[in-house]
């Protein structure tokens, strides 16, 4: 088992319990998704106040909701096209709110440089999701690039708990740019190959 696989395995124990509780209470997955974004807004508020450790703990709670909604939907047999759409849209709000919290914090501190780094990281984080969504309307699958949402969220938590948010923002920015580039190149090549096969 790999290092990251082992961490995932350990984390699944408490998550299984939470999923079972939500299934037993028959909580609708779309409600779980919405509660997740509200808690993420609270995390963004804490980031904006510079209370990184508090924000880290709130992010853990918020992302438990984010993680379990799909699993609960499966177990309750409530999987729907709207549920998938709702989840994706709400995830973008959650992402953006965390970045806005940091932009507020750095602007309060008069740090235009990090306002720009955070704003650019936010732009490319959103573009990471957009490029995949748009590509998958043209090709079957576009799952390339490293920096997806779970990686971003874990990095935010690491930055918050260890007070290394600047390093985390640089990593998110650089790897999000690379991921967007990967997806553009991959989609271009897939479409070109399809056209050549048809010709």
């Amino acid at each position: 088992m790999t290092f990251t696989g082992f961490i995932g395995y350990i984390c699944m124990f408490p998550l299984r319990l939470i999923i079972s509780t939500c299934v037993a209470l028959r909580i609708h997955p779309n409600i779980l998704t919405f509660v997740g974004v509200l808690i993420n807004v609270a995390a963004a508020w804490a980031l904006g106040l510079g209370k990184f450790v508090t924000a880290g703990f709130i992010m853990i709670v918020a992302n438990i909701f984010d993680f379990i909604d799909g699993k609960v939907a499966l177990e309750l047999d409530e999987v729907s096209a709207f549920g998938g759409f709702w989840d994706s849209v709400i995830d973008r709000f959650s992402d953006i709110s965390l970045f806005i919290g940091l932009i507020f914090l750095y602007s309060q501190k008069g740090r235009t440089d990090y306002v720009m780094v955070t704003a650019l990281a936010m732009m490319f984080a959103i573009m990471t999701s957009y490029t995949r969504a748009r590509a998958e309307s043209l090709i079957r699958k576009c799952k390339v690039g490293f920096m997806e949402r779970p990686e971003r969220i874990v990095l935010f938590m690491i930055g918050a708990f260890t007070n290394r948010m600047a390093g985390v923002l640089w990593v998110i920015l650089i790897l999000s740019i690379v991921t967007v580039a990967d997806r553009i190149i991959y989609t271009y090549r897939e479409l070109r190959d399809t056209q050549q096969a048809l010709a």
Partner: protein, 65 residues
């Protein structure tokens, strides 16, 4: 997708054009590299607005001088 032929070029290309799943050893290596950057880079080098100091690398450089 075609890779450049030599090993270092192939490693760089595969890191850039990422197609590995989570929980593979390649993913672990990438995660460890990111954690090393985040935790070992001195906050002063990045001009971190919320943290200061030289961090472990700065300490090590200080010891070596």
């Amino acid at each position: 997708m075609k890779n450049p032929a030599s090993l270092p070029a192939r490693i760089l290309w595969n890191a850039f054009f990422w197609t590995y799943e989570r929980t593979t050893w390649q993913y672990d290596v990438m995660v460890l590299a990111i954690l090393a950057f985040v935790w070992l880079t001195p906050p002063d080098w990045l001009n971190d607005p919320m943290s200061s100091g030289n961090g472990p690398i700065g300490w090590l450089i200080g010891q070596l001088r």
